[in-house]
Chain length 589, copies 2
């Protein structure tokens, strides 16, 4: 979808909106972290996100991938930056084709920084000299397909002396087909508003989004404003001076500044605000919270997971629970499906899953693995890691790049307890018996609805532990399970092969929504991925090391098991009673 349409709708409703700008990280781990951040920050309801651009195979590919995945996996519209200097026409053409192919429909057309500050700008290097050339090319070649945004410079592109000339340039970019102007960051609100007036007087009618960058630390702020010749009101320097060595105080003040700026901009009629996040979350969140702009659950969570913006998946509203922390993998493995489950999963007529995607998440160096997870030598060492993760004392495991889901915080003690006994959980949800759909933790969907969950646990366990648990489940009429080895030996008490809805919601005037299910075929497809994490982890250690051997052994002999307590009217804790006294407690506990 074109963001100009979303902007026009918001302006029509006289509604404030905001966007977040990110840059592609340099390391694989950084990319993973950014994805998690983008996903979390979607809860702040950005109208769209931006991803910056640097030419060069890997970097520009990563920008495109971040944009495409944000749309497909997290359901947020992406505005992809593209520069046009220091490259050539062929590359630009290819990049635009790729963007179109992947459903990216918004481009921020820029001239681009020079690769090195010491190099003079040489317009002969690329086919295009200025951003306007890129705008013209896109419009000529793609007609209305792309929404094009361009940069605006309230304090001049190079410096204040060029402001008037730059307004003319912006006018020309509008005439060439630009839909939106996003401005360089600034701190002088009066100057910005005067500049907007000049733009309007010059005939610039497209929406102008002011660029806001909350101050993060003193040194960086000083360097950046000096370098970009950005004027900073003296008051800000005065307030920063006494706290400049206290990073937290600087950040808090930065939030205060941004809040104050946006208040004044709103008072002057501005409705949209573009945040330069520099890939950080807290300041942007705090600014929006203080302005009471953070959206309700209903606005940002139409489903418990983020619906894809991919056109093919438009009606999709049911997914298996297994990939909850691995949405990208699920989308990749199902991208060739002709239709997506809508309303219900259906009668186990699920189409085949595509090949497993290599788990790049755990392609870690030995150093990184050692630093995060040490050198586990015994099962107890592994249990310790899982326990620490449940207790928020470890921020990731191979299966989870992010801490426990907020909803699972409520059951973290019980989770830690069964992990200590050798039931290594990789996914869980507590039960929920009709919470309002506005509930901060459990809620999703339209207002005045009620949401439900069956308690769910998914874990690895040794054959002995599985056997002991199965004995306990014998004759239990409300708990259903699937357990499977890496080799595919399946144990289950589900006689029919029907999907089990484990999350559902009831809303005024609607059929029941049942967005997550547990289902056999999907579990068997997920199983391969889940076991692969053991191997990937093992590979981070020397081939003949104790750790590598241990992790491979676990992978080869343990079960992956999921259990559902179908009586969702029971408390979240009751599923854990099944484990009382099972397994072997950690010797150190």
């Amino acid at each position: 979808m074109k963001i100009i349409d979303k902007i026009n709708k918001a302006l029509e409703d006289d509604r404030c909106f905001w966007s977040f700008e990110y840059f592609p990280p340099k390391t694989q781990q950084g990319v993973m972290n950014l994805y998690d951040r983008i996903e979390r920050m979607c809860n702040l309801g950005p109208l769209f996100i931006d991803v910056t651009w640097r030419w060069g195979g890997k970097s520009s590919d990563l920008t495109l991938e971040l944009c495409s995945n944000s749309q497909t996996v997290y359901g947020v519209e992406a505005n992809m930056h593209m520069t046009c200097t220091n490259t050539n026409f062929g590359l630009i053409k290819t990049a635009l084709e790729k963007a179109k192919d992947q459903g990216v429909q918004n481009i921020l057309a820029l001239r681009g920084d020079l690769p090195d500050d010491t190099v003079e700008f040489d317009p002969s290097v690329g086919e295009f000299k200025y951003a306007i050339d890129l705008v013209r090319y896109i419009r000529k070649t793609y007609g209305d397909y792309f929404c094009i945004s361009v940069a605006g410079y309230p304090e001049g592109c190079v410096g204040p002396e060029d402001v008037e000339r730059d307004i003319q340039y912006l006018k020309e970019k509008q005439e060439a087909g630009a839909d939106i102007a996003v401005t360089q960051l600034f701190y002088d609100v009066d100057n910005f508003l005067a500049w907007v007036d000049k733009c309007r007087a010059a005939g610039i009618t497209i929406p102008i989004l002011p660029g806001i960058m909350p101050i993060q630390n003193y040194g960086g702020f000083k360097r950046m404003t000096d370098l970009c010749r950005i004027s900073v009101p003296q008051e800000i320097w005065d307030r920063l001076e006494p706290i400049k060595d206290d990073d937290r105080a600087v950040k808090d003040y930065g939030i205060e500044v941004a809040v104050d700026m946006i208040k004044r901009l709103r008072a002057a009629g501005m409705r949209g605000f573009h945040f330069y996040t520099i890939n950080l979350e807290r300041s942007t969140r705090m600014v929006l919270e203080k302005l009471q702009l953070v959206p309700t659950v209903h606005e940002v969570r139409p489903l418990p997971w983020s619906p894809s913006l991919s056109e093919k998946r438009a009606g999709e509203n049911v997914r298996p629970i297994f990939w909850r922390n691995h949405a990208r993998s699920y989308i990749k493995r199902t991208e060739l499906w002709d239709e997506f489950p809508n309303g219900r999963w259906g009668d186990a007529r699920s189409p085949a899953y595509g090949e497993m995607v290599h788990n790049e998440q755990v392609r870690l160096t030995a150093d990184q693995a050692a630093k995060k997870w040490g050198h586990p030598a015994t099962v107890d060492d592994v249990k310790q890691l899982f326990v620490r993760y449940c207790e928020n004392r470890l921020d990731s495991l191979p299966w989870s790049d992010t801490p426990l889901q907020p909803e699972s915080q409520a059951i973290q003690d019980s989770l830690a307890c069964i992990n200590a006994r050798g039931f290594l959980t990789i996914n869980s949800q507590p039960s929920c018996n009709g919470a309002p759909s506005s509930d901060k933790v459990h809620g999703w969907g339209p207002s005045n609805g009620f949401v439900y969950k069956k308690a769910y646990l998914e874990f690895f366990a040794s054959p002995e532990n599985v056997k002991a648990l199965l004995a306990r489940l014998e004759g239990n009429p409300t708990v259903t399970y699937y357990a499977v080895t890496k080799g595919g030996e399946l144990l289950t008490n589900c006689v029919e092969d029907s999907p089990n809805a484990v999350t559902w919601g009831v809303f005024p005037g609607k059929e029941i929504l049942q967005p997550t299910i547990v289902e056999r075929v999907s579990f068997l497809a997920w199983k391969d991925e889940a076991f692969e994490f053991w191997n990937a982890w093992a590979h981070a250690y020397a081939r003949d090391s104790v750790s590598a051997g241990l992790l491979s052994d676990v992978s080869d002999s343990w079960y992956l098991m999921n259990i559902v307590e179908n009586n969702f009217q029971k408390s979240s804790e009751s599923i854990f009673e099944l484990f009382d006294g099972l397994g072997q407690a950690l010797s150190t506990e």
Copy 2:
């Protein structure tokens, strides 16, 4: 489905089963009552029902219709009797073809009674002389399509002197292709068991179902047993003698006799029991209850409505609520659909409804209407009738042949109250917030589940009353409504055209079942039927009578309206608070 397969399955599981025999009533009203009775008695879990046969266009057509509808509308397998004397080959052929066409797959092949006791049996009249000829013909012509049952005579067909010969006949019928023997009724258990032994000794291996007829009254019992030469143990006569003038005492004793007989038959290894109900409900119900054979909710209510046995509708599990008391009409109007809603209603892509079926239910004579509903002259008179119906002081209304649904008994005072104020309810359900699926009143579906309902009211109301109610609903975020005039003027606050699930259930290991919905297209189709009842009622009076004029006026100007309180966590009464003080109370109250 062939009942022999169901019987074999029951015998394999060593499970008791029972069947109910009905005869086609002579009047249209009698037929309607029988349908209601069959539907109610389905809750007693018969393995199948029988409908007796008499040649003659109307009577035999009615038998076929009762069988076919019982299967399609009430989801109970039917065993259609067919006699072969006093008719001719062409009629038999046609009748069998019709039965096959309508999905009837079970025939009880009989010789048939003679039309008049004084007429000697004349085998030359028809093409077939004996039941065995019919058995042979069916087998020869239809192969295995039909399950054929035949009569067995523990006390001889004509009298005890023929018992041995009749056993040979039964053996021959088995050899000709009979699958099951259903016996003539009897009261002498010892004799019956001895007869079964003889049958087995003679090589009869097919299942034998003993015929049980609970004694209903002394006179009838005496005449019947004399006429059919059925032996009655002296003890029964002795016990009947002192109570023979007390009908209730006789019935109660009849129940005791049947219970005692079945206990002895079970002890002797019999598992199936065929009840000659003579279209009565209470005795059969009491016998099964006393034997603790009445099935659980789970066994007889897979859905809140009876799923059809029609093959085409096998997967159907969603229906609009409007036809709840008019399942036959719904099935008729949707019989041409290629697929039936399964799992969910879908995106309002409902195929078109067929033509409205004439509402034979209210094809009443003036006498009948006058007797039931008097000669309403004012709206208050009509309101009085609806109030009396809600208070169980009137057993039917044109829209409802049966008393209020059991679930609505709990809200009958509130219903009476809004009817008195001119909101004339024709359908309703109280809310239900997660009752166990085993609940006697609300329950349905598999065990260990939970069932839910949104409070629902459907009523006729004058334009003024609708207007007043709508003003009250303004801005109410949880109540949705549709109101429509006979002419089709529609008022609604449902912006999206999506179906609203108003009954659903959550079960272990399954997706959510949502068997009843409220939906616009269906409501508009139902509307024509609902208004037609006013006209049909009006037509029962003289064309220029006050009553006819009144009822036509109401039909022409009032609205049919439905409202759903989507907050099912509220009490059942809360939907009635919307009506507080609305309308005009009955002057007599």
